[in-house]
């Protein structure tokens, strides 16, 4: 007997194949097909499902309604309908109007009620019941951070919509979360010099701040930016989200010695606090020998519409404005306006862009497999989306692009002409070191669900 008798042909083949797989040197053809079993909600039929999770009720419901319109438009354009919106202007030319990777896009929607727990429940339902391969939407940083955490656990990409807290891509950043919208730090950088020019260097600011992550980081960013100008800051006052009547917080402002009121409020809260501040006579008031001023660091057309005349002459910042003169912004406004009879808000714009960016990332990756899609979004440089040249920074998943300083228009030409862009902060000026906000992205491990 020789030892050779112990090696049958079948045994050698089995052992060899096992060895190849174990050493990880198998040809790509073996592993690419295996993605389908390895990640959550891998699309199997001829459609791909995306979860649109936005506030249809609650303090930020106006933004949610506009996001819903934007997603409807994005799905139409991705599937080849309408005029294509921003697709012809997008510098990446992968989107052909045939869905994503040849699969027709279908959306499922949920109401996050502007509440973190409701948003997580809604996103979980979309992932577990509806088979959503990606979640997008939202109009609150508390919501974005909560949903982003869930998506990290589930291995589902989250393309955040309107979230402005530094924490979303700072201390709470996640590998599976991406933000196109700008943040509070960038608002401070952009708005500071404009406030200095308009109101001088010797001012005393009083902050009323929404009591959650976004409010805190915006207050801090505005405090840093205005104190750099030489302004003083009084002890900030925190207000509950959805307080409705802010009069009890506004009354102390009158005799506080402040001559600027900074409202770190958003959505209906901002509409209420600003109109109530104006009712208290703060726009006509003199303090410290100067005209009293109100500043709303983050402002949108929807809020300007809600606040009406109270918004006139008030400074703030925006991620985007429908009256921007570039061709892409004009095309998006035309496409949105023709379908819905009103111009898109910044919430609509960022939602629409995020949907397209995800679709494009899948096309460039050639798969829906999240770790690959994440890689194709990280460090992605693009243009033609209405904000000039933009990059998705790999280290924190924050987009860097121009930031716009806006002012409530004194004499609107029509019912939609509410804000005017008075200054533009360059992409370079609003770029910062990611280390200042800390945080860890975490792993990109795919999870089966």
């Amino acid at each position: 007997m020789t030892n050779s008798g112990n090696f049958s042909r079948r045994g050698v083949l089995k052992g060899g194949l096992a060895g190849i797989l174990a050493t990880g040197v198998s040809p790509l053809i073996f592993t690419r097909g295996a993605y389908a079993q390895e990640f959550c909600n891998a699309p199997t039929g001829d459609t791909v499902t995306i979860g649109f999770n936005m506030p249809l009720t609650g303090a930020y419901a106006d933004e949610g309604a506009d996001e819903q319109r934007a997603y409807e438009l994005a799905v139409e354009h991705l599937n080849g309908g309408g005029d294509g919106g921003l697709i012809p202007f997008f510098s990446s030319k992968t989107l052909k109007g045939n869905g994503i990777l040849g699969k027709k896009v279908v959306g499922v929607t949920g109401d996050d009620q502007t509440k973190a727990d409701a948003a997580r429940d809604s996103a979980r339902r979309m992932i577990e019941r509806d088979g959503a391969v990606m979640i997008t939407g939202g109009s609150s940083s508390a919501v974005a951070i909560a949903v982003q955490g869930l998506c990290q656990e589930k291995g589902v990409i989250f393309m955040a919509a309107l979230t402005h807290s530094n924490d979303t891509t700072g201390k709470d950043k996640k590998r599976y979360g991406f933000r196109h919208f700008f943040n509070a730090y960038q608002s401070g950088i952009a708005l500071g010099p404009v406030l200095g020019d308009a109101y001088g260097k010797d001012r005393v600011a009083y902050h009323l701040t929404a009591d959650y992550t976004w409010g805190w980081t915006q207050e801090e960013s505005m405090k840093n930016a205005t104190e750099a100008l030489g302004w003083k800051t009084l002890a900030p006052v925190r207000t509950p989200v959805g307080a409705g009547d802010f009069s009890q917080y506004l009354t102390p402002v009158l005799n506080s010695g402040a001559d600027v009121l900074i409202l770190n409020h958003y959505g209906f809260d901002m509409v209420n606090s600003l109109t109530q501040a104006v009712q208290f006579g703060m726009k006509d008031k003199q303090a410290n020998g100067k005209q009293f001023e109100i500043v709303v660091p983050l402002v949108s057309d929807l809020m300007a519409k809600g606040a009406g005349d109270a918004m006139k002459g008030i400074y703030g910042t925006s991620n985007w404005d429908w009256q921007l003169p570039d061709d892409a912004s004009k095309a998006f406004t035309k496409s949105f306006g023709a379908k819905f009879g009103q111009p898109p808000s910044q919430a609509a714009h960022t939602s629409y862009v995020q949907a397209l960016l995800y679709a494009d990332a899948c096309e460039r990756a050639g798969t829906f497999y999240p770790p690959e899609v994440i890689k194709s979004l990280e460090g992605f440089e693009f243009d033609g989306m209405g904000n000039g040249p933009t990059s998705y920074r790999a280290t924190d998943h924050q987009c860097f692009k121009e930031v716009y300083v806006v002012k409530g228009k004194e004499a609107p030409a029509n019912p939609f002409d509410l804000l005017e862009v008075v200054a533009t902060a360059s992409k370079e000026s609003v770029t910062y070191d990611p280390a200042i906000f800390g945080g860890e992205l975490g792993p990109d491990t795919a999870v089966a669900c």
Binding site: D62, G244, S247, Q248, T251, L254, N255, N272, G308, A338
Partner: protein
Amino acid sequence: MDAILAQLLNGLDKGGAYALIALGLTLVFGTLGVVNFAHGALFMLGAFCAVTFRYLITLETVTVDPTQTTAWGTALEVRTPLAQTWFGDWGAVLIDWSVPLSILLAIPVMLVIGIVMERGLIKHFYKRPHAEQILVTFGLAIVLQEIVKAIFGPNPISQAMPTALRGAADVGALIGLAPGALTYPLWRLVYFLFSAGVIAAVFGFLRFTTFGMVVRAGMADRETVGLLGINIDRRFTIMFGLAAVVAGLAGVMYTPLLPPNYHQGMDFLVLSFVVVVVGGMGSLPGAVAAGFLLGILQSFASMNQIKSILPGIDQIIIYLTAVVILLVRPRGLFGRRGMMEN
């Protein structure tokens, strides 16, 4: 000193709203013995009377202005309210004063809603335990708010105050302070005066009319009044309608301060129950006093000087006060012996 006076004024206008809702709640409890959890919904329905009134008088004609185009290439639509087309400048005045004028709509509508609510549902629960009354009226509140949500949508609908009453009044100058030292929004002063007027009217009605006298007699001893041949049930039904009107009017006048939404009633309901409990169940003066007291305390608790010592006190002061009052005076400030104690 100016700051304290300003917070006091703020407390008075907040307290006005609390007192009006709590007054209606107490009227229903005192007359019918029903704990009406749908009372907050009546406040909300009143607010939506103002919304409806404004909607009706601002129905508009849409014309297309071919000389102006929108950014998306269509001709600009010019909207003109019918009231303005028909009545010219008077139409514009009508629209401007829509909130105070909507009281004219709210009074009959709320009266009917109150009577229908009492006759249609609540009368069947008079002899049932309070727990069941609470459950059924709470359910009714949810039904009402969902109806409003279905018709008007989930989002707040802002209501403008008349142009003449916008801005702030220099209250300081009236009481001898330096000009501009103490200013306060005109509409909030109007709201306080309005609530004081309605409270006075309700007390006057109960005190100086025969109807009111019978109702008070019924509240004290329903059985004896019934034995005298007086149909006390009919009067109590009208009182329920009156309570609905009071809550509705509080809602109407509150709309310029806070854009109404469908769940506004629930936000106020909890507060007004605390007011009733603090004031003493069934005591009308107690409800009014507690309404203003809690409004003022809430306002003072929001002062920075207080919050720097006790952070977050503005959020819990009302409930904290209720706990303290119930510990010291279990029947509330003006509570009567025997009320809800059997």
